[in-house]
Symmetry: C2
């Protein structure tokens, strides 16, 4: 029996589940691990004292297809970027798809295709998977939870503990674009040129930075809460002060316009394809130069430095000094 | 600001998220990995040619608190059992909590406590975590996605490929109890004694079987689709025939009564604390003897054998032979 939409039987683990997997998931994602069809995938560890990174993230974005991406690309990007932030090459993925009853099979197919293509581009492989079906009105269309393992690349030792006074802060490109793109599509605002989410996997730029000999102390993927919340968190955890220069922070004019209209501060808005780097003093411009070779990080810039003390200070365009705090309250639900 | 229920701000990655994590998650789950507060947890691989197992599963059970367990215990049990089925000792967990706006903080606290306690009992540690908040009516109260890594115990080489003609099939206890317990609570049926879900992590019994020298060829956790669907899948994948003796399959009288009332076949109903073992001919009774030492597998029994040919045959109580097929259609949504 063929279905146009997901039905509850697809979640029962029987014949309908089997057919859904064979029809939608396997053509895009089959590999020697999933083909074994065991309860868990078994893999070999390659190196003696190997260090691995492990992360998880759930994605509940609405709409699931948006300018610049979709929930499949977002799920891969968000997870790749969490691994990349530790200097880890994306390796094995596990993904859990929670699908609402009534979700169109054609949309599911698009999502899985995008997930699979982005996974392949990232050089990663999904070796464990699960699908569940939630009754209508409960599942919110589709949620994807991803966990991933990566191998630390070239003995990098990247952590918040490594940050020291004098380190330079580099952002890999313009900020707040994912949030702004989602806002624009939900509010049906046309911008010229159209606003695209920055959603992208960033392992290749992190790898290039490491290969290029940049001494990276710490990295962070500034998603929910935006650049400001990320920096405040880092400042608290690493017990250091951070100074950022507003005029150096790249941001698209359409994003500024949208923020002006809705009263949002772009420093607090989510990115899905940006990396914040803390690098040894003197390595900032070198890193920015490397990053500019890539389309996803064309606008990379050195935006600040680590200083004595605590907290995050923004040196404003007008010459003022503003202390940044963590995001308080809700902005827009289901942006990632 | 204190909240009694989850609000959208808890999902924004800012101060409210931080407070939710500090108040509800950290007290139960803090460890040296999560405390680092990085984008991914970094861990060391201990052995040279180590083999690891990796799995994922999502849990959307309704009600979230049920006789014999709750979604937290279920999430740990289901994941531990997937690893255990590959002979892997539960190691590192990653969990993603998708919480609906309006979900009571006190319930969240109970769920997290149960998750943490069961994780601890299983000897595992959660080293990566994520929380997302879905707007009301979309999140279905709470969903938990878990991924986990385990180390293969004592060089076991357990896989469907190892199954051979003559192998004995052992079930670790009575079947269909998780499904029946959920059905009873939803339909407000009182049974005497009250029906408890079998929900339990099974690594300890698998470990005991391995330590006891049982030659295990394959294992499978018979959840959605029940014992019958699991056996049909194994028969197809391993390209072998299976014969099962109905009279040997342990099942509680209250479960049989419930099934009679609702017209369910217990062979197709979900278990959440059972393991199906395929062991070398002659090792079946030895395994059952070991399992009977544990409360969770007191009713373990040798129920069948691997034969030439294909498909799964049930030798019925009345002397008939019934060919088992995969579960078709939907039974009850959100049972696990």
């Amino acid at each position: 029996m063929e279905f146009d939409s997901v039905v509850l039987a697809h979640g029962e683990g029987g014949l309908a589940t089997k057919r859904l997997i064979e029809k939608i998931f396997s053509p895009m994602l089959a590999n020697e691990f999933l083909d074994k069809n065991e309860d868990a995938a078994v893999f070999n560890v390659r190196s003696l004292k190997g260090r691995m990174a492990f992360t998880t993230d759930s994605f509940i974005v609405e709409p699931i297809f948006f300018p610049g991406g979709d929930i499949g690309k977002l799920a891969v990007s968000g997870t790749v970027n969490d691994l990349a932030a530790m200097g880890a090459q994306p390796g094995f993925f596990a993904a859990s798809f929670i699908i609402e009853e009534g979700f169109p099979i054609s949309d599911l197919s698009r999502v899985v295709k995008s997930f699979a293509e982005n996974l392949k581009n990232a050089g990663a492989m999904m070796i464990a998977a699960d699908t569940k079906v939630a009754p209508e009105g409960h599942g919110g269309e589709i949620f994807i939870s991803v966990a991933a393992i990566g191998e630390i690349y070239r003995q990098q030792n990247i952590s918040l503990d490594k940050i020291e006074v004098g380190d330079e802060v580099v952002i890999s490109g313009d900020i707040a674009r994912h949030f702004a793109a989602i806002l624009a599509v939900r509010e049906k605002i046309d911008t010229e040129p159209p606003l695209q989410s920055d959603c992208a996997p960033l392992w290749n730029i992190v790898k290039a930075a490491i290969d290029g000999g940049v001494e990276i102390h710490s990295m962070r993927d500034p998603t929910r809460g935006g650049l400001a919340t990320t920096l405040v968190e880092i400042s608290e955890k690493a017990k250091i002060g951070i100074e950022i220069d507003e005029e150096k922070i790249p941001i698209k004019p359409q994003v500024i316009s949208l923020c002006d209209i809705y009263g949002f501060d772009p420093l607090y808005l989510a990115n899905e394809g940006k990396m914040t780097f803390f690098v040894r003093r003197g390595d900032g411009e070198k890193l920015a130069g490397i990053l500019k070779n890539f389309e996803v990080s064309r606008d990379a810039a050195v935006i600040g430095r680590v200083v004595d003390g605590d907290g995050v200070i923004l040196n404003t365009r007008t010459g003022g000094r503003r202390k940044l705090i963590m995001l308080e309250g809700a902005q827009l639900p289901r942006i990632c």
